[in-house]
Symmetry: C2
Subunit: 316 residues, 2 copies
Amino acid sequence: MNTVLAIDIGGTYTKIGIVDKNGGILDSAVFSTKSKEPFAIYLKELISNIKQLLGSLNTQDKPMAIGIGAPNANSLTGKVENPPNLNWGKETPIVKAINEALGLPVYIANDANASALGELRFGLGQGMRNFVVLTLGTGLGSGIIVNGELLLGEHAQAGEIGHVNVDPNGRYCNCGLQGCLETYASVTGIKRTVFELIAEMREASPLRSISFEDLTGEAIAKAALEGDALAIRAFDITAEILGRKMADTVAHLDPEAFILAGGLSKAGDILLKPVKASMEKNLFVAYKGKIKVYLSDAPRDAAILGPAALAWSYVS
Amino acid sequence: MNTVLAIDIGGTYTKIGIVDKNGGILDSAVFSTKSKEPFAIYLKELISNIKQLLGSLNTQDKPMAIGIGAPNANSLTGKVENPPNLNWGKETPIVKAINEALGLPVYIANDANASALGELRFGLGQGMRNFVVLTLGTGLGSGIIVNGELLLGEHAQAGEIGHVNVDPNGRYCNCGLQGCLETYASVTGIKRTVFELIAEMREASPLRSISFEDLTGEAIAKAALEGDALAIRAFDITAEILGRKMADTVAHLDPEAFILAGGLSKAGDILLKPVKASMEKNLFVAYKGKIKVYLSDAPRDAAILGPAALAWSYVS
């Protein structure tokens, strides 16, 4: 069977997998990205994991090409550039490094741009021509589809909605700016909000016994679903800010829909309902009632479908 | 000579003209839009002005088509819909009305979208593939060019950057929302800022002797150029907010450039310099040093070049 090798590099985990033309995943693996380590150490572990994966494949299933989704990847240069959530430095020529190690053609896209391609080819974006994917993970990534194609922009860097400004005097962002959307609307963002609320509120909460490092999006979602007032308020604040900024995105792009993906989207209705309400309230009159918001239905290990879609767009 | 008839409907003035294929203006006229009046009165005056213009033309210069740029125009329906700055009601079928009155094919676009087409065909946008036009007039309009074409969006309503949010608790906007960019960064916006500063500051200023209704963008620019502290501060505040929001637009679209047009852009460097500084300061690292900002070099009566470019895109 014809396949591609897909690599999804997240701030926390890296996922790799062998993917067929219909989005079927033949085999996959996950390892820690260890974002505080330099690239050389990461590359060694990546290649080792890939070789292990390839070693267990039947010969006829060997991949024809490699697709990579990575934070702050530049599809024109093949480099990862200034990633705020990875300690890799200014410019990392990852396409060249992987091509040299494995001898296959390698294509790269910003991780969230790859996700948008994945939704377009395999997911909820099938049949849509104008939509925006927001990946709510360690950071907030975005991929914009216009007229059925990925919006690249003049320097192939379009779609950094995680760095629109919420508050000029707001939270410090890893990118060096202050008040970026991803410092509020992401797994890390809602954790920061929980810690603000622990300081501000009086109510008991199971979240008070967890350190910042140990706190997860899942723990906050679980507490909210069990009625914890602090966790519910954290989701409401996150959703209010995200919905307001989604209305700004609509005022630029007039999309058919948003697709929310990434770890935080797994929280479901406790995120989706207040996001929809906040967006709708803040929409300019021409857009009211017209813009849909979906949660990605891709299973969590399907993050590799984005880079797979990228690779398939070249080999098929 | 082959020509088109161009109609630019602004919140304050309506400009009409006969335009050839190279953007040459054979003849033109201006009249007050009287935005507080209903559409029926406006239409009568518009047709009367057009007939007068056509009456003085040589037979061989008669237009082949009509292009209209109007606030909140929907190019799909041919209607002006919910214009916050015109008292025309919910839906005005202006294309049908003008076609019936004059018997020529009529095309319409949002006024700022038309401006972007004008810059692309006749102005600073020639040779650029990705840029954003911001028209700083009574309101703030925008037109977005992506890959050499006007970005329409799913409902042909893309590019309402005047209604992105600056402050959820900010100024009331004619559109019903609060804190929209156009309430700060437009001729009306800087007037509102001047009046805030008159209340806040102690310094003498020539602007203190002018009523809100009588105050113009030109008067504020003139005072600033003559060193008036209040007027200079009004430009700095306006530019800081506009530049910050332009950085958000870059985080969506990654354009090559912005082109600032409309009445306020005529202020020149007292607007442009602080706008550039504020945008640059707020840009995400991937964009720093890469995005140009120009003032449109179109003369003020060239607003009709936008709708002319729209009409030419159909007849040539």
